[in-house]
């Protein structure tokens, strides 16, 4: 059974069809890139997969369950329990330290555990920066904290929207290496990107 399946998905805003009859199937453990130019509906699709929006038509099957008609409250629960989200602009809570940003995700999921959060930061090479505020971290470091935050609740699916879009080459490589490592460990990843090089890396890993 696929982890995620979009069946005949359309998203319509008045006259505009942001998505038109899209079909996708993502198996468990796959690393998939969704590519396309600006305005092609990538973010709309990500919002639907990430349970932040509902399709106008079609079915979204997550673990075999159709979530396309679920209430906003139920979608929040699904997002919290099954999906880890990463954004281009990092989006850390600016008055919390790195470790606290990771723990917030634990708090809304189950129970904060500082040691576990520190371990997650250790995985992205930032354990020693745990007590720093976002303003004291570089862009690459902030994105790595966000990766740790997305990982902390062991989600079935990691959904990343242009995760390297705001990073320099070094940090881009660090983040992609992290994704590669997660993929090898069996995590399912969907990366929305318009960068062919990123898509190529994902494709190479898919070939492996």
């Amino acid at each position: 059974m696929s982890l995620l399946e979009l069946k005949n998905i359309s998203k319509i805003y008045g006259e505009l069809k942001a998505l038109d009859n899209v079909n996708i199937k993502v198996e468990k453990g796959e690393w998939v890139a969704i590519m396309g130019p600006s305005g092609s509906g990538k973010s709309t699709m990500m919002n639907i997969i990430g349970c932040m929006d509902k399709p106008s038509l079609g079915e979204v099957l997550l673990d075999g369950v159709d979530i396309s008609k679920e209430s906003s409250k139920k979608l929040t629960e699904i997002r919290r329990d099954k999906i880890g989200l990463i954004f281009q602009q990092f989006h850390m809570v600016n008055y919390l330290t790195a470790v606290e940003n990771v723990m917030v995700s634990q708090y809304y999921h189950s129970m904060p555990d500082e040691e576990e959060a520190l371990e997650a930061l250790g995985r992205v090479g930032l354990r020693e920066r745990a007590k720093h505020l976002p303003s004291q971290l570089s862009g690459g470091e902030q994105q790595r904290v966000c990766v740790a935050r997305a990982l902390i609740n062991a989600p079935e699916l990691i959904l990343a929207d242009e995760p390297t879009g705001n990073l320099d080459e070094d940090n881009e490589n660090i983040v992609l290496d992290l994704f590669r490592q997660l993929h090898r460990e069996g995590t399912t990843l969907i990366v929305v990107t318009h960068d062919p090089e990123v898509a190529e890396i994902i494709n190479e890993n898919f070939q492996e």
Partner: protein, 400 residues
């Protein structure tokens, strides 16, 4: 970090914003508590004045009105003196409709070597007095001896101490409870002691404008009219039939005070209402600004799995924390302004001012606290609703 404390973390990390909101709430709390305490004090003062004045008609020498403002003397304790023959008392007692009549004699001390403090000394006849004696009996259960004094609540001297009045050493034996009227700043003694003090003052060369024997003068006659008689008739009779005196109905005096009090209360109520509306609008405006500033933060929390209810709860907790802090500070500030400066407020308003007791103050504080909390909660409700319905995905995508 305990995540239940997340709202407090935000408050401490944004001290400027927290301080601004706290000050707004503090202003509201201050206005509500100070205004309510002032209105209650004025009402208490009025009730106390009505209860303690006791007399329906007061007779004073015709010269009195040119020397002092009788209302001010009675209500604010302005020092003054005037005298008339004591036979006025007998004439008054003979009038039909007079139930009780008792004389009082006034003497103003000076800020000079002869006297400890400038104060209004009032001589009463303990056997017939019905305006002050009941309160003296309540505060000091024994008869007053020669040179014994009972002081008003605001006279700055201790029981057991000696007050020097025109070089006569008088013993302070008791203190009256606060009345919020001119009684609080006066000193009371028997008519016998008063006559000794009048002689002493004259002996020291003070011209009290007394013609004749100091033992045979009085300053005012307080009259209680029989229930089946009219104070107006008694008042008119005296003005027509007794020479060189002027009769004043206390009801008129109280009506003036009562009107003044009603005016002050209304002004205070309008002021509190105005401040409440203004502060309420300011709090809403402040929350609107915060809404704009915190959209991203709330979108991130939504993305991480916070439900709308959780976000609303977070806003309510923050608001409640600010309201608790602001209202407590406002109430404390109001206490620090209204209670120590009650005398000044009384003087400025020219109205009797009797502060409420501890129980009433606690009730007022609790009412203010709840009122402020409710105002803050209502003001934040709209914000909470807006913030919890933010389009998280759009904000996260756009980054603001």
């Amino acid at each position: 970090m305990k995540f239940r404390k997340l709202p407090f973390r935000n408050l401490t990390k944004k001290p400027g914003r927290t301080a601004m909101l706290t000050v707004l709430v503090m202003i509201l709390s201050f206005a509500m508590f100070a205004g309510a305490a002032t209105i209650f004090s004025l009402r208490n003062g009025m009730k106390s004045l009505e209860a303690r004045l006791g007399a329906d008609v007061i007779v004073v020498p015709v010269s009195a009105k040119s020397k002092v403002n009788l209302d001010e003397m009675l209500l604010q304790g302005t020092v003054g003196y005037f005298y008339m023959d004591s036979d006025v008392l007998e004439k008054v007692r003979e009038i039909d409709g007079v139930e009780k009549a008792s004389a009082q004699t006034f003497l103003a001390t000076l800020r000079a070597d002869c006297c400890s403090i400038p104060v209004q000394v009032i001589g009463i006849d303990p056997d017939t007095d019905f305006t002050v004696q009941p309160w003296i009996a309540q505060s000091y259960g024994k008869p007053l001896e020669t040179y014994d004094l009972i002081v008003g609540s605001k006279v700055g001297t201790e029981i057991g101490s000696t007050l020097r009045i025109y070089q006569q050493d008088c013993q302070v034996v008791g203190r009256l409870d606060s009345t919020g009227t001119g009684m609080d700043t006066a000193v009371y003694t028997t008519m016998d002691t008063m006559h000794l003090l009048l002689e002493a003052a004259q002996g020291l060369g003070h011209d009290l404008k007394i013609t004749g024997d100091p033992d045979e003068v009085i300053s005012a006659v307080y009259i209680k009219v029989k229930d089946d008689s009219s104070a107006v008739s008694v008042n008119n009779y005296i003005n027509v039939h007794i020479r060189k005196v002027e009769s004043v109905q206390t009801k008129n005096m109280l009506t003036t005070v009562s009107d003044g009090m009603a005016g002050a209360s209304s002004a205070m109520t309008i002021l509190i209402g105005g401040i409440w509306v203004l502060t309420f609008l300011l709090i809403i405006a402040a929350f609107c600004m915060i809404l704009r500033e915190r959209r991203l933060e709330f979108a991130v929390l939504r993305m991480l799995g916070a439900s709308r209810r959780m976000l609303s709860g977070m806003i309510f907790t923050e608001t409640a924390a600010i309201c608790v802090l602001g209202s407590v500070l406002g109430i404390l500030l109001a206490c620090a302004v209204v209670f120590p400066f009650g005398g000044l407020i009384e003087e400025k308003l020219g109205l009797p001012f009797l502060q409420p007791g501890a129980g009433m103050c606690i009730l007022l504080a609790a009412g203010t606290f709840l009122g402020v909390l409710l105002t803050g909660t209502v003001a934040s409700m709209w914000t909470a609703n807006r913030l919890s319905h933010v389009d998280a995905s759009k904000i996260l995508r756009e980054g603001n």
